[in-house]
């Protein structure tokens, strides 16, 4: 490759986008493996138990987990539109604020769910099924809190947009959608099936 051509390629503006994409993809593979391991553990307990839920435990009500699912799905949908508008240059900050509020709503629904379990006398130490429910939702919620923190930071940085803004939106969006997909899988496998 000629030297000039190489230098021009080095100054390409696509660099940040590609770096962001590579780094977030690797990060999501790592997070994916964490949740995959948890789901593998769940599958092992689920398929080796003679009855499920074990030890006569009743399944928790689907109402609050369903609300959580609705909130996180809606927030992902709004984020997708927000991201499209960012690329077009017509984004409205209020969309991101709405995503943040829905995310906080998701967290509130999780607290309500944990309280509901406690009120029925179901604690993390009550057996393998409650252990799974509490632990997996705790771990997922910790990631949600991190994502909400990132979104709050993104919201603040929208006041002074720069060439990295689109990369930030894209990367945080990928993380948020990933957490939505993980929740959906947990909802279907742990609560519904």
């Amino acid at each position: 490759m000629a030297l000039t051509e190489a230098r021009n390629a080095l100054k390409s503006n696509d660099g940040d986008k590609i770096i962001g994409s590579v780094a977030m993809s690797v990060t999501l593979v790592s997070f994916g493996m964490l949740f995959l391991t948890l789901m593998m553990a769940f599958a092992l307990y689920r398929f080796t138990a003679p009855v499920w839920p074990p030890a006569g435990m009743e399944r928790p009500s689907l109402l609050i987990p369903s609300i959580s699912t609705f909130l996180i799905a809606l927030s992902s949908y709004i984020f997708i539109n927000f991201q499209k508008n960012i690329e077009k240059g017509t984004a409205d900050k209020r969309s991101l604020l709405f995503v943040l509020i829905l995310g906080l709503g998701f967290m509130a629904s999780q607290f309500m769910f944990w309280n509901q379990l406690k009120s029925h006398g179901i604690y993390a130490s009550s057996g393998i099924f409650p252990s799974i429910i509490y632990s997996f939702t705790w771990i997922h919620a910790a990631h949600i809190v991190a994502a909400l923190g990132l979104m709050a930071w993104l919201y603040g940085s929208l006041n002074t947009p720069d060439k990295l803004t689109a990369v930030k939106v894209s990367s945080i969006g990928k993380f948020w959608h990933f957490l939505g997909i993980v929740w959906l899988i947990m909802f279907v496998t742990i609560f519904v099936l």
Binding site: M1, L3, A6, R7, A9, L10, K11, S12, D14, G15, D16, I18, I19, V22, A23, V26, T27, V29, S30, F31, G32, M33, L34, F35, T37, L38, A41, L44, Y45, T48, A49, P53, P54, A55, G56, M57, Y123, A124, S125, S126, G127, I128, F129, P130, S131, Y134, S135, W138, I139
Partner: protein
């Protein structure tokens, strides 16, 4: 090719920004190097305490025994012995070898060898180091808790590691420490992978990368994929210990429903077997390069070596079950795992043969880095071959949990990796510090270490084959093992010899930093990119991003005049 050119930042001026909270990959590499060397000393001291106990049961440890164990007459107590072998393994693997091979060499070599000015995410890099420090604090803090540190073995199998087997907070801190270290290493892995993909100098295709970078890249990929698996297991184990969940408690221990202690073994080894390659791939890469550099010959079959390392990386993810043959797994599974494990021999043999091909008829320069590289060829050969007995179900069932296993994995994970680490340290020291290490002391260090480590690990395989179990405080209460006392004394004397050799290294390292002869830009006459810049490397690495025009192993080209190597920035000389 590179996607963008990083800007040259001003040099840091304050002590804190230059040496403590530095964003410079070279400074972070040195921080990891010091961190690793410090833990190498701590873990090595623990090894000597273990070895003393096995060679001279009931005898007080010399000099410091009465200070460490005043209540037991200077003799290592049984519960402390369990803690020592747990923490020796943990420290050596996660806090010594990992920071040196991956943290130090990864940070130092990747940007310099691919022609970049720094890692792609310098802040993430700094955070990665400080998280590793936090992890070290958590682990060391566990030693000062009322019931002491973790004592469930470095694998921490339940129920040894649950509250039933290990009361107290020590084991919990162990879990948290490793979890934090996992986060730190994953951050490093993301940084390494993204840097190698996006910041390679123009003209540097993947097969133009030095094999050191191949090794570090594959290691980073394995780290990114498999560390979270261990992370999940550690989280669940922590929840069992702190919140009373029942993931790894079975039967009556679980109040209702049932956990599964063996699940932790699965999770641990899904991570644990790739971990072997996580540790050894950087050493393989370094050795593959150094053999070519010091044999003054192109690396024989360099592409095949890179592809073999890739094949081993992929296969390493499919063989973890060979650690668990004795857990009553289905014979169909054991045979599958045995076959897959044996399959690793094929790419291993390819790159091992390539090493020998590189050496064949080379104009070998026996400088200290080369001696250590040749040492890796020898000990890895032994370690690899003895692995075949453990991959085979029938022999493994006899050898499982004996000292044969300890000898085998120390040959592969300790001897090979440490020697590879020393090779890299002696080789890049001039670029790191701008001075040369003393060659004579380096050679003394090498030969005493080689004699010592072979005495230790060969001896371990013999006593293991004779039936000595790996986790017994005093094996000689069993009559059939009493005739192994002299051999255990020989192993311990070998360990003390090897320990003494490291004093030579530490002296050489520290003395050379300040008083060693000034290093030239390219003291080893090597063509990779880091040797095109001054020694020590300036804070911005490359004033102009280099353009790569040939591979990293261009030696002995008959068309060259006046020298026997080419820089990667030079057009390949043709007739």
């Amino acid at each position: 090719m590179a996607f963008f050119e990083q800007e040259i930042h001003d040099a840091p001026t304050t002590f804190l920004s230059k040496y403590v909270f530095s964003f410079d990959h070279k400074v972070i590499a040195k921080q990891f190097l010091w961190y690793g060397i410090a833990f190498l000393g701590i873990g090595g001291m623990m090894a000597l305490l273990i070895r003393w106990t096995l060679a001279f049961p009931g005898e007080p440890f010399p000099v410091i025994g009465h200070i460490l164990f005043p209540g037991n007459g200077g003799v290592v107590p049984p519960d402390t012995y369990a803690m020592l072998f747990t923490l020796h393994g943990t420290i050596m693997i996660f806090f010594a070898i990992t920071p040196i091979l991956i943290g130090a060499f990864g940070n130092y070599c990747i940007p310099l060898m691919i022609g970049a000015r720094d890692m792609v995410f310098p802040t993430l890099n700094m955070l990665s180091f400080w998280l590793a420090m936090l992890s070290a604090v958590l682990l060391l803090a566990s030693l000062f808790t009322p019931l002491g540190g973790a004592a469930g073995g470095w694998t921490s199998y339940p129920t040894l590691s649950t509250l039933i087997g290990s009361a107290g907070i020590g084991q919990t801190l162990w879990c948290l420490s490793l979890f934090v270290l996992g986060v730190s290493s994953t951050m490093g892995a993301v940084n390494y992978i993204a840097t190698i993909i996006t910041l390679r100098a123009p003209g540097m295709g993947y097969f133009d990368m030095p094999l050191t970078i191949w090794g570090l890249w594959l290691t980073a990929i394995l780290n990114a994929i498999f560390l979270p698996v261990l992370g999940a297991g550690l989280l669940l184990l922590t929840f069992d210990r702190v919140f009373g969940t029942t993931f790894f408690l079975a039967g009556a221990a679980a109040t209702s429903g049932s956990g599964d202690p063996v699940l932790f073994q699965h999770v641990f080894w899904i991570f644990g077997h790739p971990e072997v390659y996580i540790l050894i791939l950087p050493a393989w890469g370094i050795v593959s390069d150094l053999l070519s550099f010091f044999a003054r010959k192109p690396a024989f079959g360099a592409k095949a070596t890179a592809l073999s390392m890739t094949a081993i990386t992929i296969l390493s993810t499919l063989v973890y079950g060979h650690h668990m043959y004795s857990t009553q797994m289905s014979p169909l599974l054991t045979q599958s795992f045995m076959m897959l494990t044996m399959t690793i021999s094929i790419p291993s043999a390819v790159f091992f043969a390539n090493w020998l091909g590189t050496l064949w008829k080379g104009s070998i320069r026996f400088d200290t880095p080369m001696l250590f590289s040749l040492g890796v060829v020898f000990v890895f050969g032994l370690g690899g071959l003895t692995g075949l007995y453990l991959a085979t179900v029938s022999t493994d069932l006899y050898l499982h949990d004996t000292y044969f296993v300890v000898g085998h994995f120390h040959y592969t994970m300790a001897a090979s990796v440490l020697l590879g680490g020393f090779a890299g340290t002696y080789f890049w020291f001039p670029k790191m510090f701008g001075r040369m290490m003393n060659e004579r002391l380096g050679k003394i260090h090498f030969w005493i270490s080689m004699v010592g480590l072979n005495g230790i690990f060969m001896g371990m395989m013999v006593i293991g084959h004779a039936g000595m179990h790996r986790r017994i405080y005093n094996p000689f209460v069993y009559e059939f093992l009493q005739n192994l006392i002299p051999l255990n004394m020989f192993i311990t004397i070998s360990a003390l010899t090897m320990g003494a050799a490291q004093i030579v290294f530490v002296y050489n390292f520290i003395h050379s930093m300040y008083k060693g002869p000034i290093a030239s830009q390219n003291p080893w006459e090597v063509g990779t990119l880091e040797w095109t810049i001054p020694s020590p490397a300036p804070h911005y690495n490359f004033k102009d991003i280099p353009v790569v025009r040939c591979g990293p192993h261009e030696y002995g080209n008959p068309n060259l005049v006046g020298k026997d190597f080419q820089y990667q920035t030079e057009e390949l000389v043709k007739a």
